[in-house]
């Protein structure tokens, strides 16, 4: 069994002379929830389409589950929820999932049991026999999620699954991602909602101008400094003078009691506390500010280039 479920090297796609994806090099392991992030036009959709076999790469190599992308053997073992999922609106939710199950070659006896289970799982059991034309955008995403997992895929591709979903719907997607990962499937999540990615994924890749520019285990990214918020009983000039002796420290905010500091790393914090206490400042709390995925994203992508 291949240890890597997604393995690409130098994957490239040109539309005419314009490169949409320049260099997609990724390795994703079994059972991982993998976030794929990038600004608009970075090549995310084209990348995901290449992995699904919808778009043929111009150059490079791509394997899913150890086999070349796009083969039927691979497609039998993946699931896909497209962005803005839509389908023939006269079908009922049950008929839609049944149709996709049949296209996956799932046995009728299995489908008879599984279709109602899946619709219940995505919270649509009360809407089983309603036609899709009566569905809201969020309900369409839910039924799209059900069809994506009808064949118990080994890799589940989700393209912006939470766009258009209410908080309950987003929670449901997170739960399904966790279930799929727990049963050993790989989840490849393409999303703009960084908070969702942060809550769901084990690792993230950042893509800019068609190239993977960074890959991080969730929360383990390094930035050049640590932001700290210090709450005190009142800051005095002596404390500020003493703090300025710490190498690399910068005061980013000071409203008399609340102090914002930027230090090279968390090892500088005991020294910060010592300086404050020695200057007679009462310290209530010292809280290092976690660098969010959004901070990392914005720092990696640089200033907004506009559209």
């Amino acid at each position: 069994m291949a240890a890597l479920t997604i393995d690409t090297e130098g994957l490239r796609k040109n539309f005419g002379t314009r490169p949409a994806v320049r260099d997609l090099t990724l390795q994703v392991g079994r059972g991982e929830a993998f976030g794929f992030l990038g600004p608009n036009g970075a090549g995310k959709s084209t990348s995901i389409k290449m992995l699904l076999g919808l778009v043929k790469p111009t150059a490079g190599r791509a394997l899913l589950l150890g086999h070349p992308v796009g083969t039927r053997a691979v497609r039998a073992r993946i699931g896909f929820l497209p962005e803005h999922f839509r389908f023939y609106d006269w079908l009922t939710a049950s008929e839609l999932v049944l149709f996709h199950g049949r296209l996956c070659g799932v046995a009728e006896s299995v489908l008879r049991r599984r279709v109602p289970q899946l619709l219940e799982r995505v919270g649509l059991s009360g809407h089983r026999t309603k036609p899709l034309r009566s569905f809201s955008k969020g309900m369409m995403q839910r039924v799209g999620l059900a069809q994506a997992i009808v064949n118990d895929p080994e890799i589940l591709f989700l393209d912006e699954p939470t766009s258009g979903l209410d908080p309950a719907g987003r929670k449901l997607v997170r739960q399904v991602i966790r279930e799929q990962r727990d049963r050993g499937a790989t989840v490849f999540l393409n999303s703009h909602l960084l908070g969702e990615v942060e809550k769901s994924c084990d690792r993230v890749a950042l893509i800019r101008e068609g190239t993977v520019v960074g890959m991080y285990a969730m929360g383990a990214w390094q930035t050049g400094h640590t932001e700290v918020e210090v709450l005190t009983g009142g800051i005095n000039p002596a404390a500020l003078a003493l703090l300025s002796t710490i190498e690399g420290l910068m005061v980013t905010a000071n409203d008399g009691t609340r102090l914002g500091l930027r230090v090279p790393n968390e090892h500088a914090l005991p020294e910060v506390v010592r300086c404050l206490v020695e200057s007679g400042v009462r310290v209530f709390s010292v809280i290092p500010q976690r660098v969010s995925l959004e901070d990392l994203f914005l720092e990696t992508m640089g200033p907004d280039q506009g559209l």
Partner: protein, 309 residues
Amino acid sequence: MNDEAIEMTEVAARSRADVDAAAEEHAWREPGTIRTVMLMAGITFREAARRRILWIAAIAGLAFLALFGAGLHAMLRSMSPTLPAVSRHEGVGMMLMMSFYGGSLMTSLMAALTSCDTLSGEIASGTIHAIATKPVRRWALVLGKWAGFVVLLGAYILFIEGGSILISWTESRYLPPHAVSVLGLIWLQAILMLGMTMASSTRLSALTSGACTVGLYGLAFIGGWIEQFGALRHVRACVDLGIVASLVMPSDALWRRAAWRMQPPLLGAIGVGPFSSATVPSLIMILYAGIYALAALLLAQVLFERRDL
């Protein structure tokens, strides 16, 4: 642990076993080509049958049949009761041929209008993405869609042309000669239009694809007239031009063969007309049209197989 959490754990445990079993066996499931074609044909038929355009076509067809029935009734009433049955049937045959011409035109247009967005529309809307990522052959998807429309067009022909035959039989006990092969030729004409529309809709927008095929139909129609006039006036160049037009698009040749098969002897003697045929396309031309229709389907399959979605 609440109920939801218990349920999630059970689902996870069951599914993990499923994944492991499937992965260990390196087994994978797929529906098979025939099953894929049947599934796609079924859903395409149902999708097309729900379109408003089909209902409009059905209403137009009913109006068409009512008009034909009323016209035929009026004509038969105006005939002297002493007129021999042969002469009565000559008149009914002419009217029936006009009706068949109208029916073939409507069916051909229906073929182009209902199928023009089945590929291009689903590519543009992304509907095709959820289908094409399943373990199915892309060419089988196209074949399935094509088959769905072929059945639909067959049903429409039975409704509109079969209705005409039924009316003529009820009113005058007249049955056109070679009715089955005539209906077959009209069906092939519609299938030809369908194949061309689907092939162009793999690369062009829905509207452009429909316009392309209807344009070709028009070209074949004009070509047919030029050929008939050329034959009557013995102008070889006109006949050749007509044949070239038929080779580019053999739809009119199919109609002219159908008209020749069903025309009453008197009409044949009168000669040229939009509903009759002075020059009869050969069986080789019909065979060519059949190959053309299959080639159009094949082209649609190859173009769809090769394109990025």
